[in-house]
């Protein structure tokens, strides 16, 4: 089936329009991050800084404790990613492979709970974490993120578990491998790339999260990057836009890198090979 040339041209044009719409705010952020104050205040701001500078980045680090906030974010996001995968992998395995009423009920609950507005969850969570003495602490935030990351993690992992052929596990059982042995030496290695991808997704979700961090972390030393970023915002004068843009750009970099890694991950080929042999 061939598409006529004029239609093809229209398609490319439309695609270009989409990409411009999606990319221009980010390009403007980049441009602002590298502009000196004089250009930011100019009556005719340009796309490409005439006199690019790194001063905005230096100033951003001077104004706000970005390094410490970054460390907090890193701790919260990696803690949430590891714990979420540890909890979700067995649950996803059981609900896809077995008839477990409890497993189904838990998965169902996790999905349905998505529809509830955060405000109904955050007030009780605030009180519960206060009683557990986990309020205003990054470990407390990690616990919240784990539960919050579960729906997507379960959904992703269920797909990966389904892709592991049950025949492989059955063959191992026939060969006399115990249940645990089968899980550890047959299922786990095949599932590993999926588990890593899921953990990376959970990492990005937690790294980007704002609402829970805003409510639960009050001490400035404990706040994560998104919360600290909002301290730059306010009645900002034109000269403050540079550091704001620089800090926002830096806070996005880890998410972009992780996303790029996840995208390239291909698990299909490996599985196909395993079934044939």
């Amino acid at each position: 089936m061939r598409t006529p040339a004029p239609a093809r041209a229209a398609q490319y044009l439309a695609l270009l329009a989409y990409l411009v719409f999606l990319a221009f705010p980010f390009l403007w952020l980049l441009s602002t991050a590298f502009k000196p104050p004089r250009e930011l205040g100019s009556a005719h701001p340009t796309w490409i800084p005439e006199d690019p500078t790194l001063d905005n980045f230096r100033q951003a680090f001077d104004e706000q404790p970005l390094l410490r906030a970054g460390a907090n974010s890193l701790l919260a996001a990696s803690g949430a990613a590891v714990l979420a995968v540890l909890i979700a992998t067995p649950l996803a395995y059981v609900t896809t492979r077995y008839r477990s009423r409890l497993g189904r009920a838990l998965t169902g609950w996790v999905v349905v709970s998505q529809a509830f507005p955060f405000v109904l969850v955050i007030i009780p969570l605030f009180l519960v974490l206060k009683n557990l003495r986990l309020i205003d602490s990054v470990p407390g935030l990690v616990l919240v993120y784990v539960v919050w990351a579960l729906p997507f993690a379960l959904w992703m992992l269920a797909g990966y578990v389904r892709a592991v052929p049950a025949e492989l596990e059955e063959a191992a059982a026939v060969d006399g491998a115990g249940r645990l042995r089968t899980l550890v030496s047959v299922t786990a290695p095949l599932l590993a790339p999926g588990i890593v991808a899921t953990a990376l997704f959970a990492f990005v979700t937690a790294w980007n999260e704002f609402f829970f961090a805003l409510v639960l972390l009050k001490t400035p030393e404990k706040q994560t990057l998104p919360v600290v970023l909002t301290h730059f915002i306010g009645a900002e004068g034109v000269a403050d836009l540079g550091p704001l843009a620089a800090a926002a750009f830096l806070a996005t970099l880890p998410s972009l890198v992780v996303f790029a890694i996840v995208q390239r991950r291909i698990t299909g080929g490996m599985l196909a090979g395993a079934v044939k042999s």
Binding site: L15, Y18, S100, G103, V128, E170, A248
Partner: protein, 302 residues
């Protein structure tokens, strides 16, 4: 334990004690941090709980809900929330459908376009808000500068104008949700039967007929699911508008979540804010049920 020849297949094996062991790690956190808090939250709605108060909290029955009924500010916020949810989700779907159809074509550089199209998905919402503040900035923003270059006037302060604030934040909402919706629809498009498409083309069906008769029926379930989810997510959204306008000007962009957040954590009215949460869940569930029921019934003739 299991025989490969078992007719019902592995998915129907009964769970032994081992399965319990595998479910346990999820059970405790979900009970303590999800089920418990939600029930607790519903109970709070019937109390006069406040933050940092020394007197004990008392049951006050449905008093919070009766107050809420007469709280015109809350219902104004609720109305804005619904307008926002529909005004963001509908264009989001249409734009995402267009983009997904394009990305499904055999175009050159498709891989690059796919990669670029999902970049906004990876960004923290706070950064998205900051980015668009820079775009909308009255003096240093690229929007006003472009308008000036095109000779379309001096531009304006988009985020603090009474008339422009809500449309301006809606555009940001659409932008932020476009990649996720596109990816979902793209996944749905992979399920459309390619042979049917080609057969229809051979029979002389135009692009629009092929879309209606072949693509859309296959895409429908995904489209419905993602739109329903978008409606919920958008109605409950917080960070974008918090960063862009903080609910201003004059409450024009104060979404229900911002309203409830202020009630709970600025004024300390935990019980009252919990009642708002309950009302939001109830109304959204009803609206969603109506939307889905209507769409599913309309499925026969479409």
């Amino acid at each position: 334990m299991t025989r490969p020849a078992e007719a019902s297949g592995p998915a129907h094996r009964a769970a032994g004690p081992g399965a319990w062991f595998l479910v346990l790690p999820a059970l405790l956190p979900i009970l303590v941090l999800s089920v418990g808090p939600l029930l607790y939250g519903v109970l709070l709605a019937f109390t006069d709980a406040q933050s940092g108060r020394t007197e004990p909290t008392r049951w006050i029955g449905a008093l919070n809900f009766r107050d809420l009924l007469h709280d015109t500010l809350f219902w104004e916020s609720f109305r804005i929330g619904l307008a926002w949810a529909v005004g963001v989700s509908a264009p989001q779907f249409l734009l995402a459908l267009g983009l997904a159809l394009l990305l499904d074509q055999r175009l050159r550089l498709r891989w690059l376009a796919r990669a670029l199209a999902i970049v906004p998905w990876a960004m923290p919402e706070v950064v998205v808000g900051i980015m668009w503040r820079l775009v909308y900035h009255p003096d240093a923003g690229v929007l006003n500068e472009t308008l000036r270059d095109l000779g379309l006037g001096d531009g304006r302060d988009w985020l603090s104008g009474l008339a422009t604030a809500l449309p301006a934040v809606m555009i940001v909402g659409i932008w932020a949700g476009l990649p996720g919706t596109t990816v979902a629809l793209l996944a749905g498009l992979q399920n459309t039967p390619q042979e049917l498409h080609e057969a229809a083309a051979v029979d002389g069906a135009g692009a629009w007929r092929r879309f209606r008769a072949v693509t859309w029926p296959a895409l429908r379930p995904v489209a419905l699911a993602i739109t329903a989810l978008n409606l919920i997510w958008n109605f409950n959204s917080f960070a974008l508008v918090y960063v862009l306008t903080g609910g201003g000007p004059g409450g024009r962009t104060r979404l229900p979540m911002l309203f409830a957040y202020e009630e709970a954590f600025r004024y300390g009215q935990f019980g009252y804010a919990a009642a708002m949460g309950c009302v939001m869940v109830a109304v959204v569930s009803v609206l969603l049920a109506v939307f889905l029921a209507g769409r599913l019934r309309g499925g026969g003739d479409a």
